[in-house]
């Protein structure tokens, strides 16, 4: 989440009751998650395992629960007892929950020639471009940005909250909701089928690139970035903070895990499960997915086991 304008880091420290170590004169431009972080961003970390990754990342300001780490030049630590609560306080300040009282928010901007069907919900500060078709019973939640010539079919939800929790098993309720402050950005000429769900980013944005087409019941997780001219068939599911490059084709019911990358023009055959990075330009199959021709040869080899058994016993 970008702040509306840069904010003095000392002001943030006051808000979350933090001690600043290092550069006290900085201005934070936003808060972001570690996989998408940029210069000027705040990031938060509460587990020693990830301390160095966050400190060495592009982030300028690290909300952290220790003062026993070295601060790189120009950066600052914001030391608090509970970085997760500090994160929630920042989100609550800059993106407070705003109840809606009408189906189309007054603050929503809708471009010329765009058709908004009956029974559509459009939240606060949503922007929709020109010549879009938003079909009945679509939900577009606060702050989402839709380009020109976009089609969104019925029942689809844009901007649902991330499935992202702070988990601790020493309390009655193990999982605490990480409030989402990111957006969904949908570029021009994207088409989204019926019954899809596209989660907003936790603190970055979820983005769907120009000309990409999604079939029905496709799920896209938080902070995931999808390139241009991709095709995803029905019931594909993609977890959070993953990157899908341009021209990728995912066939029906493919599942893709979190924080990985699928390279340009890769094709993943139906029902495959992608658990790690995939190289560009190749065809994949299986759960876990691997090179499709390797996988298909493997299926042939399996059929030969009885023959092997017979031969061995002969």
């Amino acid at each position: 989440m970008q702040f509306p304008s840069p904010v003095a880091i000392t002001w943030i420290a006051d808000l979350i009751n933090a001690t600043v170590i290092g550069n006290k004169n900085g201005q934070a431009t936003g808060i972001n998650e570690i996989h998408r972080v940029e210069n000027g961003d705040l990031v938060f970390v509460d587990h020693p395992k990830y301390y160095q990754k966050c400190i060495q990342s592009a982030a300028s300001f690290i909300i952290i629960n220790t003062d026993k780490v070295v601060v790189p030049d120009g950066k600052a630590l914001l030391v608090v007892e509970n970085p997760f609560e500090a994160y929630l306080a920042i989100v609550a300040h800059f993106r407070p929950f705003q109840p809606a009282f009408r189906s189309i928010a007054e603050s929503a901007k809708i471009g010329e020639g765009s058709y908004i069907a009956p029974n559509v919900f459009i939240g606060h500060q949503v922007e929709i471009g020109k010549n879009c078709r938003i079909h009945p019973n679509v939900t577009i939640l606060d702050h989402c940005i839709i380009g020109d010539d976009v089609i969104i079919q019925s029942g689809t939800v844009i901007g649902s909250d991330a499935f992202y929790y702070n988990g601790k098993k020493d309390r009655e309720v193990w999982y605490k909701k990480m409030e989402s402050c990111g957006r969904v950005i949908i570029e021009d000429q994207v088409e989204i089928g019926a019954g899809c769900t596209i989660d907003r980013g936790v603190s970055h944005d979820t983005r769907i690139g120009k000309g990409t087409k999604l079939d029905n019941m496709v799920h896209i997780g938080h902070d995931t970035i999808i390139g241009k001219n991709c095709l995803f068939a029905a019931q594909v599911g993609i977890a959070g903070a993953t990157t899908i490059e341009d021209g990728v084709i995912l066939w029906g019911q493919v599942g893709v895990s979190k924080t990985l990358t699928i390279g340009k023009n890769a094709i993943v055959l139906a029902q495959s499960g992608v658990g790690g990075d995939l190289e560009a330009g190749k065809v994949y199959f299986g759960s876990p997915a691997e090179d499709a021709s390797t996988k298909k040869r493997e299926l042939v080899w399996i059929k030969r086991i009885p023959e092997i058994w017979k031969k061995l016993n002969a």
Copy 2:
């Protein structure tokens, strides 16, 4: 389904035109399905294969199409020609279909601090606790009970009818709808993602335990009981009358079959298919699901078949 108050079994017998054999003085407290049946309940059975299971169950009153079975002490048989039609008559009496004429039923109770977004449907006798967020285009159907601090995201349906039919292939239309009279009960601090569907019980309740979190497009079948502090990732589907104990994690696109049990804190990896009971505390993978490390070793063994072939031919 519990009746509003206990009902004389002779009154039920009149309603469904049954002959009572055994204890004629009993009071039925409700009607239930065989996997969830309790003392005082009516149950129905129309196939000899299941006669004894029903008669020996906790149920006190058995609607049945035979008088050639022995009635245990204190129990009663309600003998009818067609137990399925008798069941429908009881449901039609105690839970008649009530059309809705407005988006939020007058009889719905909504707790203090709960936010109901525009375009939400809330049915008759629904109860929603305090400080809930019910997002746009959510549907909560009749008689469902939602606890405190529950979040339900857009497009989700709570209380759809069970997928449960009486099947006979000697008629033009094979499958006859078993009307659902159960409820969905969602406990405190549960969060349900966008585009989920949670079926009501056929005659018991579907229940989601405290603090459990569901990602988008999760399907939960009728009469299924889910424990506390579970995490289900996107596109998980769970069939009817299954029991998932506390702390279970199901990753994306996992499918779980009906009337089975997954033990406490079990973890099922993405795209697995669970067809039988799973022991507590272990990690599972594959379709059919088995111990994850066994399954992963198996995948390695498969890759060795060409080497085995070569060795054998050498």
Copy 3:
């Protein structure tokens, strides 16, 4: 799509700026897609690979981008530079996009005894039979036909656009939408669960046969024809232009590819992936799906590989 009445082929030629070769006196009764084409239909083809298939099909009139092919007796070619654009022009003329201004279109016909819940959208020229139950937040789009005694549960979308594109990689946006002009036809006593999506045909109709029952989150692709008395469990997905014959059972999360046929009374076990035709009356399992008992034996053989290895090394 059938035209409201037969149209002189010369009139069509004027509309799309085509040169007619062959029978100039014909009357086109509609436009259709190659898998479902009938006598009197227009069909279009723009790739030499499919020229002969289209010319030799049941179609009477072929919109094509060549004049170097032989026209069979009685048929006509409509030669244009870009058949895809010609198709779009015909659809735009006979099925122009009609914005909706109210939740239930004035032109919709709703039969006696049918219940339409609040928050339902019903489009132009929709016809709904008698004694149906259309639950809250259902979307039924233009021109769809629903029979008698049909139940459609909440969140379901009937008549979403086909996922069908004209793809060319030499332009900025690779995929151009093929506008759908087909309908969805749902026969009597069909029940459709919550959160399903049923795409209209591209130019034929999508059809669900009498007495078929769909669980929640089932996706049915464009131009797919489903027989009578089928049962599809939750999260099943079926691609376009496929044929499922009477009495077929698909268990949970089964995926079915496009333009294939599943024979009468076949049963496909959960999570299977159907990539080719399946014979009637058998049970199938696996991804890719094969005879279930063969597949299950295979799973047993795989478990013997370590034993084979040991034996080989002994």
